[in-house]
Subunit: 105 residues, 2 copies
Amino acid sequence: MARMIEKSDPLLRAQKLVGKKFDLLIIDSISSRKGRSHFNEIVKDIPTINPRILSIRLKDLERNNLITKSLVLGTPVKTEYALTDSAERLGEIISELKKWAEKHK
Amino acid sequence: MARMIEKSDPLLRAQKLVGKKFDLLIIDSISSRKGRSHFNEIVKDIPTINPRILSIRLKDLERNNLITKSLVLGTPVKTEYALTDSAERLGEIISELKKWAEKHK
DNA sequence: CGGGATCCCAGGCGATACTG
DNA sequence: CAGTATCGCCTGGGATCCCG
């Protein structure tokens, strides 16, 4: 008999993947720019984030296959963050969550 | 011209409403019991939660109109927590989030 | 432009014990 | 059964400055 303990497992997993303070905001920001953003564009969308945190979160999201990072050569070199397919699907859920939050109460 | 600053407002709002560690787990637990649960039933569903935290979270969720609390007279008296309509709608989003988390990667 | 290095801080959470 | 009382911790995040 399987353990009931695992009833909430998928949610715990979601939490580990995108549960930190700015994670959904970051994904939503990239999503709103059609799936590709530069570092400072995200900062513009989330004025309260600080570069250190953004940097940490981006790396973590990358490790977890939510975003990909690529370099755009030129002067200066730019970085470009893009959502993975999975993260784009999450983006739709985030969009529903936003609608929900706006209506709530 | 509206402030761009507010681009991520609904998400920040959602975060304040249900952004703490166990919030989604609690709502999902009640939801899985057809919208009504007792204190210790929630504890059974979320073995890692401790009574103090659950108590705090339930009060906060109640204040924010996500759950309602009522007493069921009898011996002993029981408390019953139910989801509000709004929280039930959130429950559907949580359900999608769970599916997403299971498929991811 | 896109970060890294340091230092610091609060608050959210864990553990344990107790109660109406 | 359904919580409350204490206490301590630790991690995530804020502030500031700096660099290739």
